[in-house]
Assembly symmetry: C2
Homo-oligomer: 416 residues x 2
């Protein structure tokens, strides 16, 4: 018998029929003697419907009121799932974030969890109840409802699992695990049985959308064993089989001794590149360029500054494509003349491709293998960025699929 | 400058366009220097949508979970109205019942308000904010969300007005006040400028659907001046005119010294009559008949027991038509043989017509005037029931409209 947290996404909760299936699956786990806490998302489409209503009222709604509004979607879900479990004869009780309470800071629409009081939930579990807690939301110290931002239900589930020292957090979703790369790009892509927390963090931050990155950080910080698995299987499939399906995000370093050097190929199409040319190379120049960009709430990803030639250098960075125009405006209006740059150029037709793997730490030659593979395919590398467990390159977007397929093959990822 | 509570029904909140109109109206009152608390209902159709979802899950959902679900409708409303006020440049803040808090007992789906803490709201008002509070709901002492039952937003508004000692509670609705009778039955029906609390209570309990009866009781207990007025007028109509429109439910006895003897004619089509014939007339017989009826949660309205003849009497009472079959089953299965009744007969084609007015207290002859009028129209009276300020008769439903029109004319109600 173990305490296990289940998380179900909006698609899994998308209709009353689907909610009944979720209840069957949860009841199966409870029947096996486990204590179960469930964290469901809002029914698919519901959060968008609510936000559309708000936008009809005003284009930029107040964040506090937006959270008041959007948090209702998850409250509907928990109540319906509780009823569905009761209709199967289970004792069940639903809670909104403030009832647990899940305490957060007051950063409305993107709040961060500060603490979770598990006393009430634990009492219910000890009484044999299934406890259902709203994802995505909490309450600040003034009693205002907050939300964690899009995808926040993953974070809620992992945070609840951490607070309650759950044996495992099962993230049920519409994919059946984490793959070596996107199967839509490489048909030979293979599902990983396990992935380390650090690899998952890189995969998530590099554009692999299986889990929200903050939930991965949370899982890492609190060492919550987290499994990504499918909610589309038969809810009554044998529990043993289900418990070992999907991909486990693990914190046991030694289980990975035999693992492949590279775990997967991540990619991100949503990149745009900006280069400030002919910048005088003197202290503070990076801040003078990126400070105004940050002030405009534009997030910067890769950053490169070349060796200067004759006291001048070129400064390049990437942003999300949707923020390219805003970033260019900021540079042209507030930065260019101020720092005496020669010109500013950009390109929105670029993509990032990354190889990720903890094995990289102890194996030389990964970078050269990657660069050789791309070179053999005639793909020019525009920027390079590295961390301990990943190497990312920026390339022309038209070569992205080719690059991913070539690298997947070069690192033998189709083989288990 | 006064503290005023506004309540808006589901129709007034039925779309984002209508919510914007509500905001304009509220802003107008705030601009005039008043402190405003608004209690809106859920958007029309929303509560029904949510309950339909619950019924798809199970026919008899758990009341606690039903409240968790249904309370989201009002939370959506308050957030949207707060945004709409902000878009007009007003400072506004929305609260769910638990945030105020509005404390209730734990009778889920039909909770009763126990206390309202106005500290937080008053602080906001003093800071110049419009405060928007969810109707229909509260929180029990264990932190569970409760709802007050259908129409509970009226009660919330009056309760908030009572707790805050508001100068007036304005109930904006899709009728423009309280009429001497239903204008669809009597075209000469006249809107009353004022009505006493007790008359309103009788009108509400006798089937006039303008205000929920519990809200009228609340208004009476706490002497909250309450006005029913139209939300369909131009939101920017002159405030003075709006402030004197509709019908004021008043507690100033002396303002009614000159008032007509009868204020209005109420009626209720939703009646069914049951008679237990040949009952041995001995102590406890009324309880033996009505006890099992109450245990089956059937509400009884009029009750008559005739003088006994030769130790036998007939016992008659009325119930809502939808509960007639259930009541008959209970009597035939659990009561008839037990008390030795001769037979049980019933009629679902009956209606109740009532004349209401505080002036009745000091005027004799109202009853005889009523009975004569009905007699002149050839309408047979099946049952009679009276209180200090009303006389009700049960008649064949096919004469109901005729009776209402005849009485309206007989008591000169078309004249101001």
């Amino acid at each position: 018998m173990a305490l296990i947290v289940h998380k179900y996404g909006g698609t899994s909760m998308g209709s009353t029929e689907r909610i009944k299936n979720v209840a069957k699956r949860v009841a199966k786990w409870h029947d096996a003697g486990h204590q179960i806490v469930v964290v469901p998302s809002a029914m698919s489409g519901e959060t968008n419907r609510l936000i559309a209503l708000a936008k009809e009222i005003m284009p930029q709604p107040d964040p506090r009121e937006l959270d008041m509004l959007a948090s209702t979607g998850e409250q509907v879900s928990v109540a319906l799932l509780s009823m569905a479990l009761q209709s199967l004869g289970k004792k069940a009780v639903s809670y909104a974030g403030w009832q647990v309470p899940i305490k957060t800071d007051s950063a409305f629409t993107k709040a961060r969890i500060q603490s979770i009081d598990d006393a009430r939930v634990r009492r219910d579990l000890d009484e044999g109840k299934v406890v259902i807690i709203t994802g995505f939301q909490g309450v600040d110290d003034k009693g205002n409802i907050t939300t964690l931002g899009r995808g926040g239900s993953d974070t809620s589930a992992v945070a609840v699992a951490a607070a309650m020292k759950a044996a495992e957090c099962l993230i049920y979703t519409d994919v059946d695990g984490v793959y070596t790369t996107d199967p839509r790009v490489v048909t030979e892509a293979r599902r990983l049985n396990t992935i380390t927390f650090e690899e998952m963090l890189e995969m998530a931050s590099l554009g692999s959308k299986v889990l929200q990155i903050r939930s991965v950080e949370f899982a890492g910080n609190y060492k919550v064993p987290t499994r990504v698995l499918s909610s589309l299987t038969d809810p009554l499939m044998p529990l043993e089989e289900e418990a070992n399906s999907g991909t486990l995000i693990s914190f046991e370093e030694d289980t990975h001794m035999e693992q492949a050097v590279i775990s997967g190929i991540a990619f991100n199409r949503d990149e745009a590149k900006i280069t400030v040319l002919g910048v005088p190379d003197k202290p503070g120049i990076a801040f003078q360029i990126l400070g105004p960009i940050a002030d405009a709430n534009v997030e910067v990803d890769m950053i490169i500054q070349n060796q200067s030639v004759e006291g001048k250098t070129d400064f390049t960075f990437t942003v999300a494509r949707g923020e390219y125009a805003k970033a260019m405006d900021v540079l042209n209006e507030s930065v260019k003349a101020h720092i005496g740059a020669a010109s500013i150029v950009g390109d929105t037709k670029v993509s990032k491709v990354s190889v990720v793997g903890v094995g990289m730490r102890s194996h030389v030659g990964i970078a050269s293998q990657m660069f050789r593979t791309l070179s053999e395919e005639g793909i020019n590398i525009q920027m390079i960025s590295t961390s301990e467990i990943k190497i990312s390159v920026l390339i022309d977007e038209k070569y992205m699929e080719l690059a991913v397929r070539a690298l997947h093959k070069a690192f033998d990822l189709e083989k288990a």
